[in-house]
C-alpha cells in the first residue's frame, strides 16, 4: 500500500483543529480528510493514489473549499496544491522540522482572512474616456473608425498599443488608489499580477475579524466611485493564500 498511496497535504493548522467526517478531499472518489498532529500543529491531509493524476477542476475546488472552510474557524497555512508525501511519518517529520516557524506563522494569521479585490475595466467606458483625454489617440481613432483593417492596420496597431499602455498605467494607479483607500482596514496587502488584459485592479488583503465590516464598506465605496468604469468584485473570505509565501518560512 505504502508504495501506491501518498498523503496529499492541504494545509497546516493548530493541533486542535479536527476535520469533520464529511470533509472531502481531492481525488476520485474524494479522499477522507484527516489531521496528523505533532506538538501544537496538525496537517490536514488525505490519501491519494500515486498513479492518479491530480488537478481536475473538482480537485482544485475541493482543495480551496477545504482551506477556505477551515480559515473561517481557525488559522490555516495553505500548502501548495500538489504537495504529496510518502506517509504519516513524513508529515510528522515536516511538522517537527518547522514546528516553531509554522506555529509563529499561524499566530500571524489567527483571526485574519484574505479578501481579493478584482476589478475589470468596462472596455467601452475606458476607451471613450481615453479618447476624450488624448487628442492624438482620438485623431487615430477617427482615421481607423469604419475602415477595413487591411487599409488601416498600421494605425490600428498604433491606436491599440496606446490603449493597451493606458490600461497598464491606469491599472497601476487604481491598485495604488485601492490600497490607499481600503488598506487601513487590512493588516497586509499584496498587489497581484493582472489575469486579463482589461484588469483594472487585483489586490489581496489580509483582514482582521473586527475590521471585516469596515473593510467591505470601504471596498463598496471604492467600487461605487467607479461604478461605470470598473466592474468590481470582492472574493472571500479566503484562506491566506497570498500571505504565506515560501520565503517567509524558509530559513
Amino acid at each position: 500500500m505504502a508504495q501506491e498511496n501518498g498523503l496529499f497535504i492541504y494545509g497546516i493548522v493548530p493541533s486542535d483543529v479536527e476535520p469533520t467526517p464529511e470533509a472531502e478531499g481531492v481525488g476520485s472518489p474524494p479522499g477522507e480528510v484527516i489531521a496528523i498532529r505533532h506538538g501544537e500543529l496538525a496537517a490536514l491531509v488525505s490519501e491519494v493514489g500515486l498513479e492518479e493524476p491530480l488537478g481536475r477542476p473538482a480537485d482544485l475546488t475541493a482543495y480551496e473549499r477545504l482551506l477556505d472552510g477551515t480559515a473561517v474557524v481557525a488559522p490555516v497555512l495553505p500548502v501548495r496544491f500538489g504537495t504529496v508525501v510518502t506517509g504519516e511519518d513524513a508529515v510528522e517529520d515536516l511538522l517537527a522540522a518547522h514546528h516553531d516557524r509554522f506555529a509563529a506563522a499561524l499566530d500571524e494569521v489567527e483571526d485574519r482572512l484574505q479578501y481579493t479585490v478584482h476589478g475589470r475595466f468596462d472596455e467601452q467606458e475606458f476607451i471613450s474616456g481615453f479618447l476624450a483625454e488624448n487628442a492624438s489617440a482620438a485623431a487615430l481613432a477617427d482615421e481607423v473608425r469604419g475602415r477595413p483593417e487591411i487599409e488601416s492596420r498600421e494605425q490600428r496597431i498604433r491606436l491599440g498599443e496606446m490603449i493597451s499602455q493606458a490600461v497598464e498605467l491606469r491599472r497601476e494607479a487604481e491598485n495604488r488608489d485601492l490600497i490607499d483607500s481600503v488598506g487601513r482596514y487590512a493588516v497586509a496587502d499584496a498587489a497581484l499580477p493582472p489575469s486579463h488584459e482589461l484588469d483594472a485592479v487585483r489586490v489581496s488583503f489580509l483582514v482582521e475579524g473586527d475590521d471585516e465590516d469596515a473593510f467591505v464598506q470601504a471596498v463598496e465605496d471604492f467600487a461605487e466611485h467607479r461604478r461605470d468604469l470598473i466592474r468590481m468584485r470582492l472574493i472571500g473570505p479566503l484562506a491566506p493564500y497570498d500571505f504565506v509565501s515560501a520565503h517567509q518560512l524558509v530559513e
Binding site: V72, Q124, R233
Partner: protein
C-alpha cells in the same frame, strides 16, 4: 460567470463572491494555483512527485492581436468622444505619455484558465460547504 454564490447588495457596484471554491473555475485557479507554503523547497521530507494534470495557461500577451482587438473596440464605440478637437495643448502631453509608455509594451500579461472548464464541477451548494468545514475543538469546548 454568475453563480449562485455570487451576491451583492441590490444596486451595489460591488459584486460579492464567496470563497470555498464557490466562484468560477477561473476564480479558483487564480486564487489557489502556485500559492501556499512550498514544502519540497525547504525540507528534506519524502515529497512524492505526482502527476499534475496540465493546467493550460492561456497567456494573454499584449501583442499585435491585442492592439487590433482594442482598435476594433474603437469601431464599436457608439458615441464619438466629445472634446477631442480644439485642445491642441493636450496633444503634446498625450503624445509624450504614449511614447513613454512604449517602455512597458510587450510585457506579457498572463491569464490562466483551465482548458475544458466544466461548469458542473462548480455546482456545489453552500450547505455542502458548511458541512465540510472542519470543526475546531477549542470552540466547541467553550
Amino acid at each position: 460567470m454568475t453563480v449562485a454564490t455570487t451576491t451583492g447588495q441590490p444596486g451595489s457596484a460591488l459584486e460579492r463572491t464567496s470563497g470555498g471554491g464557490g466562484g468560477t473555475l477561473a476564480d479558483v485557479v487564480e486564487t489557489v494555483l502556485d500559492k501556499g507554503v512550498v514544502i519540497d523547497a525547504q525540507v528534506s521530507v519524502a515529497v512524492v512527485g505526482i502527476q499534475l494534470l496540465e493546467i493550460n495557461a492561456r497567456i494573454v500577451i499584449a501583442s499585435v492581436e491585442t492592439y487590433l482587438r482594442f482598435a476594433e473596440a474603437v469601431d464599436r464605440l457608439s458615441i464619438v468622444p466629445k472634446g477631442t478637437k480644439g485642445l491642441p495643448d493636450m496633444v503634446g502631453d498625450a503624445a509624450g505619455a504614449a511614447t513613454k509608455g512604449k517602455a512597458i509594451s510587450g510585457l506579457g500579461k498572463a491569464a490562466q484558465e483551465i482548458s475544458g472548464a466544466v461548469a458542473d464541477s462548480l455546482r456545489d451548494g453552500g450547505s455542502e460547504r458548511e458541512r465540510e468545514r472542519p470543526r475546531r475543538r477549542r470552540d466547541e469546548e467553550r
